[in-house]
Amino acid sequence: MDEDLVLEIPTDVHSIAGAVDYVMSRCVAGQMHARKLNLNFRVGLTEALSNAMMYGNGHDPSKNVVVEVVMSQGCLQATVRDQGTGFDPSSIPDPTLPENVSRSCGRGLFLMRELLDEVCYNERGNEVTLVLRLESGGGFEGSAQA
């Protein structure tokens, strides 16, 4: 990506794949980082947009989601902001615990935390910032900090 990218997307879950594809098309990285982009970043951004539209904006098509993407010094950062009242990310239970693994929801935030190097929410809980570091080599690397 040669410049910062800002998108404002109306709430419609059918638009998520296209928006993510567009962001991915603007990201430039060497072959060694291809999997980190195509798996880690794609999944993280998709889940952040899904959460923003479904839970943040409550599927309200009159509300928008703003995405800001910055790539600098081997670091890819995406901020996703919705117009909802926010939520407490610590309230989401671990979906991999035996009592939760057969639940049909609750894996989005977990995947973001596993696949990105940093996942931070603002105080209100309606804006999440995802950071993926690319300088440390290719291949899959998990274990995010939230």
Binding site: V13, H14, S15, I16, A17, R35, N38, L39, R42, V43, T46, E47, S50, M54, P95, T96, V101, S102, R103, S104, C105, R107, G108, F110, L111, E114, L115, F140, G142
Partner: protein, 110 residues
């Protein structure tokens, strides 16, 4: 995303083409539920032509597996690519599903 449904002996084989994500998960869910209501009990969903499944898609598979088991049936998955395997392993859903390398292996002995 689109999917093709066929019958191999008494097993319903669903071959998914494209991403299984929040915007289209209900189509697959309804397609499988229609077959379940029609009396089918053995299902294989094949992802040989699927690049990506998001958490909503994973949730639909969990939900379908539960409903099929409640009727005494079973849902098996097949042909997950390396990225999809990673997602199933991270979420521990590989412990919930029988996952075959390909559809033939999934159908074997079902």
């Amino acid at each position: 995303m689109s999917f093709q449904v066929s019958k191999v002996n008494d097993v319903t084989l669903i071959e998914v083409e494209g991403q299984l994500i929040v915007g289209n998960r209900q189509e697959l869910k309804q397609g499988v539920l229609d077959k379940l209501e029609g009396g089918d009990l053995k299902f294989v969903i094949d992802f040989a032509n699927t690049g990506y499944i998001d958490s909503s898609g994973l949730g639909v598979l969990v939900s379908l597996s539960k409903k099929i088991r409640e009727q005494g049936g079973e849902l098996r998955l097949s042909s997950l690519n390396e990225d999809l395997r990673t997602l199933f392993e991270l979420t521990k859903l590989d412990t919930l599903f029988r996952i075959a390398d390909d559809k033939d292996q999934a159908l074997e002995g079902f």
